[in-house]
Symmetry: C2
Subunit: 344 residues, 2 copies
Amino acid sequence: MEMDERKMRILQAIIDDYVLTGVPVGSRTISRKYDMGLSSATIRNEMSDLEELGFLDQPHVSAGRIPSAKAYRLYVDTLLQTGKIRDDNEETIRRHFSGRIHQMEDVIDHAAQVLSTLTRYTAVVLSPKGAQPRLQTVQLVPVSSETALVVIVTDMGVIRDSVIRIGNQMDSDTLYAISRTLTGELRGMTLQEACERMPALISRMYGNDEVLRELYGFLNEGQQSNQRAHMAVGGTSNILAYPEYSDVDKARNFLSLMETRDKLADIIRGNNEMSFTVRIGPETGVPEMVDCSIVTATYSGRGGQQGTIGVIGPTRMRYSSVLSILNMMGRQLTDLLGGEDENK
Amino acid sequence: MEMDERKMRILQAIIDDYVLTGVPVGSRTISRKYDMGLSSATIRNEMSDLEELGFLDQPHVSAGRIPSAKAYRLYVDTLLQTGKIRDDNEETIRRHFSGRIHQMEDVIDHAAQVLSTLTRYTAVVLSPKGAQPRLQTVQLVPVSSETALVVIVTDMGVIRDSVIRIGNQMDSDTLYAISRTLTGELRGMTLQEACERMPALISRMYGNDEVLRELYGFLNEGQQSNQRAHMAVGGTSNILAYPEYSDVDKARNFLSLMETRDKLADIIRGNNEMSFTVRIGPETGVPEMVDCSIVTATYSGRGGQQGTIGVIGPTRMRYSSVLSILNMMGRQLTDLLGGEDENK
DNA sequence: TGTTAGCACTCGATGCCTGTGAGTGCTAAC
DNA sequence: GTTAGCACTCACAGGCATCGAGTGCTAACA
């Protein structure tokens, strides 16, 4: 038995109806609501075929059919191939970013908000993953008589700053002098290289031991924390609006997964760097998400590194709409966060 | 009719049992499980009195009684008066903060995590609210040939930094010179005062118009964003574990409230600055929280400003335990974030 | 040969009834 | 003032009949 064009149309109708209602759809519904010019009996035969082909599931014998993961897969694949990703939300999204937000973390938080509002699903936004940023400037700023702020600028932006303790009291000028020397020594190195270089510097620039030692610790920390990117999650409670999660236990599992940020980041990031990824139900590889789908897209941050945005919803997701929104949002984020390097 | 010591003991037993089980408690249960030396019939009479006094509610005639908000109020008040807030979690909490975390936002995020894990309720941690910080240092750090990072240090710590555009190309030394001048001019001022001073400076230090103008904008922004503090929420899904929220609609309302950060911050912060606040059910003033209680405590940040930590759970909360944990956590945060100024 | 009408059958959902048991309130006796 | 006893209430669970949406199959039709 083969898939033909009519089967395809019927499957499409079933998916449409099921995505809309969330209720198993019967042959009668299809023949009436979507006028195919076919009787329910014929549809029934076709549905039976589709089930045998693995595109439909039947919760129990006297219920209608629901699309299987395989059906969604087929649907999404044709969607992606024919490239029917609309562009019409562009203005909507742009409007949401009208204010003056430049701070990367604010943009990301905001994006997650907007994304979840527009899709009505759960949205996750991951900042670009710092590959191997190279040091550009190291600067110490006095905070109190005993502490100073370290600011490290790399070619990919600013590393999160931190307050370190300085031993003997130093004025602003002394700190600046040290900063200049350090910048001279370390510029162009990756964080890791800088870490390796530090011991040598400590022995050479004696007299400033404490500062340098603290700095060393900071670099080490920064090297690690640099790997775990910033992440924002929006609309976690949206999932509760769908009957798939009216079971409280399921909902709790899902929500607590949303709270374990590390795990969630791994899931969203996935392992491939394609511009769009759609993982349906079991394809997610996450037990808590067997009846969820994850749709992700990438955007370019500064220096062309890839950031990820994703939407998590029930398998019966409005894929087409979600894809188009993700597409637009990705462009918007590339505009706001990356751009510079590519446009010039 | 008056409250006497026996009524008090019975009420206590009822609260204990209800907090434990979440099921309306009957007279028989009390007379058996908590040996009062009284028959169920006597308890029954007393319970009837307690209901008339407004301390007990009866879901329906043949069910047991549940404590009213008034009962919890009484319970919590005596708890607070007799000061029976235990100290035994101290070590547990301290252990959770063993790592090297100094960055304020990390501490806050982490605290919310720990707090929700220990209490099994939802935890909210608010950073100290910036009263009127005074400028200490202004420093510009080169990022690219066209942009620089502004770092502003106040007596209460570092203001979030931001990248601004600089007009004509400037090297590190020029930027440092400008920084020195600015620091000299603005030191000791509040953000607002600094903003007011800027126009005068712009006209005086001509040649650096663009930098100063950008800086002006940044100060203005900072002045506003300084008001809204950092907030971390942990364990939002914990609430789903309690039968009070097995209704999905209720749960969704609650969770979406947890997501609207501004509102949540207002609720947690409340309007008083007491070291402990307990708001029970309707006392919260939030419709979504009629069967929740909010327990908050304050801690001191740098410069003695008040930060707030809070726990949100069902009205039948383990108040005693929560209070003791909040107490310990408050001290810990004061240690980590404030301290300095007070210990010296 | 594909399509359709008809029909028996399945099975979850709904609603009704009933029994059960936890719990109460009241009364009378101690 | 306390307790034993008893009638009463009411949520809840189990059993049962009913309903209806939907299927699969067969036979007739174009």
